[in-house]
């Protein structure tokens, strides 16, 4: 034990034999976690699919109240943030710390932009009473049970929004840790894992966008 400690880097946990094993384990764990995330959202996608097949007319009518411009803006914002996230990982692999921080800050900023746009969309709908279930008071949509559309809309974009928020917290934490010099080309697992998470969050939005904004 003691003699092997000398060549153990500081970041290597005692139960792993080398850095490669530790990194591979983290990666597999993260992919499994992403799988559970997909299944979590999967329930909501099933919810969407069933109710859309029951009330197809209503879904087409209801989607017209969503703002396609804002939705498109947000899609572009998120895809761009995926690029900056990927560039952050590339920078840390090359050992460029300052650049890494810069890319992480850009990703954080873009995520923030997404949330601000989302806030305006939500506020508008709250104002008009385009809300789920009992809270639905809007009258301008023809078809059966239009409140179901907004139940699906708020549940799915809401859960997605929570994930964006969690992602922002993680990125903020990465910025601090990178500035403290905790990461290096030898050890950047946390940035890579957050990157994987962030791409999944983007990917879910890429499905949500056409399903809600571009129905019909």
């Amino acid at each position: 034990m003691s003699q092997s400690h000398s060549d153990h880097p500081e970041f290597l946990q005692h139960h792993f034999s080398d850095a490669e094993q530790q990194r591979e384990s983290a990666k597999l764990g993260m992919w499994l976690f992403l799988l559970t995330e997909i299944l979590l959202f999967g329930g909501l996608f099933v919810f969407y699919a069933i109710y859309r097949s029951w009330y197809p007319e209503m879904f087409i009518n209801a989607h017209t109240v969503l703002d396609v411009t804002m939705g498109t803006t947000n899609t572009i914002v998120l895809i761009t943030s995926s690029i900056t996230m990927a560039l952050a990982i590339r920078s840390i692999q090359l050992g460029r710390l300052k650049q890494t921080v810069w890319y992480l800050v850009s990703t954080f900023g873009l995520a923030g932009t997404f949330m601000v746009v989302k806030y305006f969309e939500y506020a508008h709908k709250f104002h008009l009473g385009q809300l789920p279930g009992h809270f639905y008071t809007f009258t301008g949509i023809e078809g059966t049970n239009p409140h179901v559309f907004f139940s699906a809309y708020f549940l799915m974009t809401g859960l997605h929004g929570i994930h964006v928020f969690v992602g922002m917290c993680l990125i903020l934490w990465l910025i601090v840790k990178t500035k403290q010099g905790k990461f290096s080309p030898q050890y950047y697992t946390h940035i890579e894992m957050t990157g994987l998470y962030w791409h999944l969050v983007d990917l879910i939005w890429i499905f949500l966008f056409p399903l809600f904004y571009l129905v019909g």
């Binding site: 034990m1 139960h15 591979e24 499994l32 995330e37 299944l39 279930g133 049970n145 549940l155």
Partner: protein, 538 residues
């Protein structure tokens, strides 16, 4: 005479704080042992109280509302707080890393986090107990669960949180098995316990998120009324059942697969014979895990799903019998010409084979459409479920607890008392639940507080059986706790078994191995390797 090792995982660090902040998989296993056994006791108390109430056809000492709460809490506590986590979180945590020659699980901090998540989930469940109870049954079916005035939210929130604990454990095991096996430990040299845990972990990771979203939808439905499960608002209560059983059917395999995993270990170690059909048992675990995801509709034969769907689900259900049958036949074949030692773990193994076979075969009756229409929602279901879950999983868990007890604590329990207790539980269990098969076939519906006079003798006999079982469990608690103080030191390998955990000291050292072990023989090569038992007869 064996001696206890001077330092081991139990005494290497001292104080309550060292336990609450530990990342050692063995200590986390012990934390789980204490908390899960506490809830087993609580759930068991509800069971005894329920049976007592059912002694007479009329009200004995609790009213119908209270009765509804009792069976709900018995079910919810036993399922979510005891039987789902029991084997993976206690024995899996303790044994699995050692079995594959690892120093710990892949993510030790996540492992500790899973225990804290479990405790938070348990707190929510306990809160619902204090805040007026729940009376929906453990399945929380809508629309009743969204309209009843009892505290459904806190218990479903509890189950939601417990799901995450389960995911953390499962995820940890999958990565550990993939990445942390020691040199020479190939997939087909892994003990079958590890295979069973691996299959269980796959189901945990794939099914629990769906339960999470289902319970979340139920909570949102109840709090803000979004109408997803409410027909008055264009929703569908049957959708809830689909969602629920898509998780909860695989969940019953989360419960039974670990039990089967334990049996594979015990049956070879205590008959000192190479397992018969290693690969068949390993693959059948994966087969069961796969089949578990395509049969959920058999819980809904009477809820108005399409007839075609019901037929397909019924047909697919029979497939589960194939891998289960493969396992049972292989276990029995393993015993053939073995040198069987009738130790307590072996007695539990034999009890399992008998009880699980009854539980499994009655499952075939229920999977058949026309028979199920008659038996649906009767005591026949209750008996079938308990034969599989108690006769299968709990018996296997108790056997495993006795099998690895000397490894966990370094001390032996009193073998005579253990055999008596095993006998009492076996007899009491059959008295309690075999009677319920007969009642159910005659039409006694489940979950009824008051019943027809004609069923009185059956119910009374069933209640007497529950008392015999309770005595067996009390006796077990007594000798197990007593063994911690004055049990005989067990030595490294009391059973003469070949897997890695028996080659290190009992209790194991803090980091399991001085040097990482090299696996040069299969886990059950009793024909090639002879391990000497350290258990001295007297």
């Amino acid at each position: 005479m064996n001696k206890m090792p001077e330092t081991h995982y139990l005494n290497c660090k001292k104080g309550i704080k060292s336990w609450l902040t530990t990342v050692d998989h063995k200590r986390i296993g012990i934390l789980y042992l204490l908390s899960i056994m506490f809830f087993f006791f609580v759930g068991g108390m509800f069971a005894v109280l329920l049976r007592l109430e059912l002694l007479t056809p009329d009200k004995l000492y609790i009213d119908s509302d209270m009765y509804n709460q009792f069976f709900t809490l018995h079910g919810a506590i036993m399922i979510f707080l005891f039987i789902i986590p029991a084997i993976p979180a206690i024995l899996g945590n303790f044994i699995l890393p050692i079995m594959i020659g690892a120093k710990d699980v892949a993510f030790p901090r996540l492992n500790l986090a899973s225990w804290y998540i479990y405790m938070v989930g348990a707190l929510f469940a306990v809160f619902s107990l204090v805040a007026g109870g729940v009376d929906t049954g453990w399945t929380f079916y809508t629309p009743y669960s969204t309209t009843t005035s009892t505290s459904v939210i806190s218990i479903t929130l509890g189950a939601f949180i417990l799901g995450f604990s389960s995911i953390c454990t499962g995820l940890n095991f999958i990565v550990t098995v993939h990445k942390l096996r020691s040199p020479g430990m190939t997939w087909f040299k892994m003990p079958l316990f590890v295979w069973g845990m691996y299959a269980t972990a796959l189901i945990q990771v794939l099914a629990a998120p769906v339960l999470g979203i289902t319970l979340l939808l139920l909570i949102i439905e109840r709090v803000v009324g979004i109408g997803i499960f409410d027909p008055a608002m264009g929703g569908d209560p049957v959708l809830y059942q689909h969602f629920f059983w898509f998780y909860s059917h695989p969940a019953v395999y989360i419960m039974i697969l670990p039990g089967m995993a334990i049996i594979s270990e015990m049956i070879t170690a205590h008959s000192h014979k190479k397992i018969f059909g290693y690969k068949a048992i390993a693959y059948s675990s994966l087969g069961i895990a796969f089949a578990s995801f395509i049969v959920w509709g058999h819980h809904m034969f009477t809820s108005g799903q399409s007839e075609l769907a019901a037929m397909i689900f019924s047909f697919l259900t029979f497939f589960v019998a194939i891998p289960s049958g493969i396992k049972v036949f292989n276990w029995v074949a393993t015993l053939y010409k073995g040198s069987i030692a009738f130790t307590t773990p072996m007695l539990y193994t034999l009890a399992f084979l008998f009880l699980f076979s009854i539980g499994g075969l009655t499952g075939i009756f229920l999977g058949a459409l026309s028979v199920d229409i008659h038996l649906h929602d009767t005591y026949f279901i209750v008996a079938h479920f308990h034969y599989v879950m108690v006769g299968g999983t709990v018996i296997a868990f108790l056997g495993g607890l006795h099998h690895w007890w000397p490894k966990m604590w370094g001390r032996m329990y009193n073998e005579t008392l253990a055999k008596i207790s095993c006998g009492l539980i076996f007899v009491g269990f059959n008295m309690t639940f075999f009677t319920q098969f007969i009642m159910g076939a005659q039409g006694m519906p489940r979950r009824y507080h008051l019943y027809d006079e004609a069923f009185r003798p059956f119910h009374a006999f069933s209640t007497y059986g529950s008392w015999v079982m309770a005595v067996g469990f009390c006796l077990m608690a007594y000798y197990l706790i007593r063994s911690l103080y004055n049990g005989k030191p067990a030595g490294n390998n009391p059973w003469g078994a070949l897997t890695h955990e028996w080659q290190i000291t009992s209790p194991p050292p803090e980091h399991n191995f001085e040097t990482i072990p090299i696996t040069d023989h299969g886990p059950y090569d009793y024909d090639k390797v002879v391990a000497k038992s350290t258990l001295t007869e007297n």
